[in-house]
């Protein structure tokens, strides 16, 4: 069965220099088990192919049913150097919520 991340989670993203932080929060415990299992560093890195050019770091916050990702080398240099319209990565949480996960795989 395929589920869309947008339907089980929300989140917020922002900048840390040239890195973006993407926090993803599941709406319930079942959702957290899914994101904890399926939202691996590798899968997130692959999802952001062509956007994130560095390492992806992953942290768990079980009390908040949340994961925090740091996408290094993502914001075109960051700060006032970046030429991107979204130089602060504000829309990247929504971009991650586009992901579809096959929970039977």
């Amino acid at each position: 069965m395929k589920i869309r991340l947008l339907d089980i989670a929300h989140g917020r993203s922002g900048d840390k220099g040239d890195a973006a932080n993407v926090g993803i929060i599941a709406y319930d415990d079942k959702g957290y088990e899914i994101i904890k299992k399926y939202l691996t560093k590798e899968r997130v890195k692959k999802h952001f192919d062509g956007i994130c050019f560095g390492e992806v770091e992953r942290y768990e916050l079980p009390n908040l049913r949340a994961l925090n990702f740091i996408l290094n080398k993502t914001l075109g240099g960051g700060g006032t150097v970046s030429l991107k319209l979204d130089a602060q990565g504000k829309t990247l949480a929504a971009a991650l919520l586009r992901m579809e996960i096959d929970i039977n795989e």
Partner: protein
Amino acid sequence: MKDKIRIASGQGFWGDLIDAPFHQVTKGKVDYLVMDYLAEVTMSILQKQKIRNPVLGYARDLPDLLKRILPICMDKGVKIITNGGGVNPVACADAILGIAVKSNINKLTIAVILGDDIRDNINEIISAGCELNNMDSGESILHYKDKLVSANVYFGASPIVEALKKGADVVITGRTTDTGLTLAPMIYEFDWDKNNYNLMAAGTIAGHILECGAQSSGGNFLGDWKSVDNMAEIGFPIAEAYPNGEVIITKHPGTGGKVTFETVAEQLLYEIADPSAYITPDCVADFSSIKLQDLGNDKVRVYDIKGKEATAFYKVSCSYADGYTASGSLTYSWPDALSKARAADQILRKRLDNLGLKFDEIRTEFIGYNSTHGPLSVKIDEDNINEIMLRVAVRSKEYESVKRFGMEIAPLILTGPPSVTGFAGGRPRPSEIIAYWPALIPKKLVRPEVKILELKQ
């Protein structure tokens, strides 16, 4: 000792809703109003203003705001804490004193926190053995020290606590952590031991929830955003703090927005790295320890927070000028909107190339198609898309190249693809790039100073 204090967030950044602080001090009881004005880029802008005029360099909205709210705050006993002093907190305090006199306030104590600005002490700091190595690259600051626009240390809550102990009604700081503004009144009112790192972390995390204004009370909420009621009159968050470190996040009754587990959780995840090690001058807070309980009626309890001892360093943010950027845009309509925008981009790039201009980067984005999600954007029906905004941005060390780029946008209207509009703003002008140099400095090399300015009867 008070059994609780209510700390209201008044601004999430310089440019936030101007009336928010007024509503925070008039729509219900609060004890403190905290306002964050400083982003990294703000410091360098303010430094440039101060170089041009020595009595500027602070958030100029602040005196106008205080004209409106200082009489109310003095009447109700609401203390104001803000980092809007920027790179010239003394001038900011002087301006506020002037307003107080005009408003017939005849008793006022303003505390100014100084010592964060180390731009003029860089050589001494280097001689003391600290080369302010870049936290990302490891490089020493030696080759950059003569072109620094600004260099500021992030102080924590301690100097603000000292200011409150000296009876300050208004505390004006320069570069202070956003979280320190909120932690300080808790330490002061509840007489917290600064070595109790769980309490330091609790106040720090409350500060993180307040520091972006309404971003924790329903603004920019990516959950069920349509469920956020009356965003037009959104209430900014209030932290109701208790001596044991528990905090209830809420907002004034009758205001718009909402405070729920989800809205607070989103803000907790904002701009953090390793959640178990959120480093401030006051402590190392553990965000993974945070427990949230949604109490309903726009109240969320934040509790059970753990922290560890602070490090021996302050963070320093230095900035220097590093070239120029500009961006220009044009809007193309149906039919073939995207193809026209693509063609215009190619024509523009060929002209820039023919002119022999030097750019470090040229970036093209198609707004309405891929400017936010890039390669993740779904394919669109190119025959039927209504319109596309072409946005091209350039970066160069050479001012003249960027200036000339700005002159090549408008000509595309008469010398490029048809059905194009949206060039009303004039030629894009080069803007200076401010590059950042994050570093650490041993705490013992800098000393915060609290200066008191008083109006007495």
